[in-house]
């Protein structure tokens, strides 16, 4: 008994970043969002960024609820509009680090136009897309990520549309950092998140996540653990390849890896460049990213 009590008293390293008074969370058993949220918290802690100036913005949906559990300045906005809200937030406070977390439906269906333009502008923010292949919050409808032939509540006999390749789209639109992992690639997700958060510019991370309750069940992919394993076992790591070749084929393999890591002036860099005459005596607009020592990869 005494031993158990001692264990309970130990704080979890994530505690300072969690709104513990909001637990229990709303996510279903077996959902991948919790794992990814944990990685986001670890990355924020490792980044060494001043926490008062880290903000999370999310849209609507299961992943949209992430902001509500983060004990930092956090904004839960409207469906599809997390990125333009975050754009205003970031530009009004350039020294901040803005992380947008949302689902595939929020970011690429209703919010698709905002995604491509924020990437083109290279607004300095990190987009974490939890891709669970369907609309989970509303009970499992077809999404722009749903594989061809997959069953959802609005494609009861199979999806007759073809999905987007989000990584390819992000790269084509000008994202400076693009990576994709599954929820079992915990260390890779965390490393990528850390790189993405520290990267100046529009960085994009897609994580293939299990949604056993609405997607897995209808597609006979087994229980949560089976689905996590399925995603992980089908995945093949192909770093640095052209993301248009990083295809997601449920019958063959799911290509993951870090695809893009380039430098490009951000929106505010260029804003300052063009307006230099007027902005000559402005303070440095962009945030100061702490220098990180490269970690040896094991």
């Amino acid at each position: 008994m005494t031993k158990k009590k001692q264990k309970v008293a130990l704080p979890h390293p994530h505690d300072p970043l969690l709104r513990a008074d909001r637990i229990p969370h709303i996510w279903c058993p077996g959902c991948g969002i919790g794992t990814i949220f944990g990685c986001v918290l670890t990355a924020i802690q490792k980044s060494g960024l001043p926490l008062d100036d880290v903000a999370m913005v999310s849209g609507i949906g299961c992943t949209g609820r992430m902001a509500g559990y983060l004990n930092l300045d956090s904004f839960h906005t409207t469906h599809g509009r997390a990125i333009p809200f975050a754009t205003g937030l970031k530009l009004a406070r350039p020294q901040s680090s803005v992380i947008v977390t949302s689902g595939d439906g929020d970011l690429f269906a209703i919010g698709g136009n905002h995604f491509i333009h924020a990437a083109r502008r290279n607004v300095d923010m990190t987009i974490v897309c939890v891709n669970n292949f369907n609309y989970g919050m509303t009970g499992g409808q077809v999404a722009p990520s749903t594989p061809f032939g997959a069953k959802t509540t609005t494609t009861p006999i199979g999806n007759f549309e073809e999905p987007f390749n989000f990584c390819s789209l992000a790269a084509a639109c000008g994202a400076v950092y693009v990576a994709r992992w599954t929820t079992l690639h915990i260390r890779w997700i965390t490393d990528s998140l850390l790189e993405a958060i520290q990267k100046r510019g529009f960085s994009f991370l897609e994580i293939l996540a299990p949604c056993p309750v609405t997607f897995g069940r209808r597609n006979k992919l087994g229980k949560a653990v089976d689905l996590i394993k399925f995603l992980h076992e089908r995945s093949v790591v192909r770093n640095q390849i052209d993301p248009k070749d990083a295809v997601l084929d449920f019958n063959k393999h799911l290509v993951v890896g870090k695809f893009i890591d380039i430098e490009r002036p951000t929106f505010l860099d260029n804003y300052q460049l063009i307006n230099r005459r007027e902005l000559g005596d402005w303070p440095a607009l962009e945030r100061q990213v702490p220098r990180m020592e490269k970690q040896a990869k094991g």
Binding site: R19, D21, R22, D52, D53, A55, V57, A67, G68, N71, L72, D73, S74, F75, H76, T77, T78, G80, R81, I83, P84, F85, A86, T87, G88, L89, K90, L91, A92, R93, Q95, S96, N113, H114, H117, F267, Y271, N275, E278, L279, D281, W282
Partner: protein, 386 residues
């Protein structure tokens, strides 16, 4: 840089440009917008003016994004604004609702044109009056004001920012194409003569701060990003902590707060001007550009021996209910000219409460209402009651 913010002097400029100068004088440093006739000139001047005073101008991909961006900027600590016209105003509704729910100060200038749909993009109308009131989903109170000259585009934009900062909500400027495009004299006073109100900041340390606990005036102090308060802002129904709570009790608490902060302060918010009203036996109640026609009609009526008066509504929402109730008991008729087929007249009729007849002078849009139509209505109102 700062001295360029308030361009003190006398100018010949159009309403859209005056709106920008008012915004900047009020402290606006962020503008996100999307081109649309007849509001484009606001964005154009902002793109020219904001960089030189250290502000941010961004042309977004659409009006959905523009509205979302100004909400974000407001939480980033800047005073923010967008401008649009009918079709864009419709697109902004969803995020205006978010702004109301999260109590985000910002200003939306709607330079109205004739609709529905694309309508007459370059010609005047006053068709968004009810959309400003009820266009967004859910129940709320809103503040909307209506300028009738370029000078008022300047003055009222400052007022709009002050209202939005004081009461923490999006404030709508219901301008119209003629007011926006008309060139007139605009006097910009010295900076120290301009009253600027800024949002209340929390006086308590982080940990003690409840982002949605109102002070006695019904409005909660507002922390912004980077101040260490670690607040959560959500469009879900939330309690005083800002946390989502899904039940009817919290909904009641939140909605009553959103409604009461405007209703209880209505007397402080509402403004109107009167013209020859003291001895009037018939009155015109007008707003926006229609005030100009109404003024002429009232003057002509006086020349003909008709004791006509005018009420110029500066605040559209909240509607000056008490004033109209009193007025309806004193006059023999109320005339409302508006460039739509009857929107504000419904509110006028409701407040008149049957104490006097209310007559609409409608116009479908595309031109201003000619004063002689209002004059005819004034004459007709007296004939009917004698």
């Amino acid at each position: 840089m700062v001295e360029k913010a308030v361009l003190t002097g006398t100018y010949f400029m159009n309403g859209d440009e005056a709106c920008c100068e008012g915004a900047i004088a009020a402290g606006c440093r962020f503008f996100a917008g999307y081109p649309i006739t007849p509001a484009t000139e606001v964005a154009e001047r902002m793109s020219d003016r904001l960089p030189e005073i250290g502000g941010i101008f961004i042309q977004m991909e659409d009006e959905l994004a523009s509205m979302a961006a100004i909400l974000g900027a407001s939480w980033g600590g800047m005073k923010a604004m967008t401008s649009t016209s009918g079709p864009g105003f419709s697109l902004m509704m969803e995020n205006i609702s978010l702004g109301l729910c999260t109590e985000t100060p910002c200003v939306v200038c709607d330079v109205q044109r004739a609709g529905p749909s694309t309508g007459l993009p370059t010609l005047v109308a006053q068709g968004d009056m009810m959309q400003a009131r009820w266009g967004a989903h859910g129940h709320y109170e809103i503040i909307a004001i209506s300028p009738s000259s370029p000078q008022e585009m300047f003055d009222f934009t400052i007022w709009a920012f002050n209202l939005s900062e004081q009461y923490r909500l999006p404030v709508i400027i219901l301008a119209d194409e003629v007011v926006g495009h008309m060139n007139e004299r605009v006097v910009i006073p010295p900076a120290d003569k301009i009253q600027v109100i800024n949002r209340k900041k929390p006086a308590v340390p982080p940990g003690k701060y409840l982002p949605y606990r109102p002070d006695s005036d019904g409005v909660a102090p507002m922390a912004t990003l980077g101040e260490g308060y670690h607040m959560h802002v959500t469009g879900l129904t939330h309690d005083q902590r800002g946390y989502p709570v899904m039940n009817d009790v919290t909904q009641e608490e939140m909605i009553s707060r959103l409604v009461q902060k405007v209703r209880k302060n209505a007397d402080r918010i509402i403004r109107y001007d009167t013209f020859l009203l003291d001895d009037a036996e018939v009155a015109v109640v007008a707003y926006g550009i229609s005030v100009r026609s109404a003024k002429r009609a009232v003057a002509e009526a006086r020349e003909k021996g008709i004791r006509a008066g005018l009420v110029k509504l500066n605040t559209i929402w909240p509607f000056p209910e008490k004033m109209i109730r009193d007025l309806a008991r004193k006059v023999r008729g109320l005339i409302m000219p508006e460039i739509n087929y009857g929107q504000m007249v419904l509110e006028l009729e409701r407040c008149a409460g049957g104490f006097c007849p209310v007559v609409l002078v409608p116009h479908a849009g595309g031109a201003i209402i000619q004063p002689d139509r209002i004059l005819t209505a004034l004459q007709g109102a007296l004939k009917k009651t004698t």
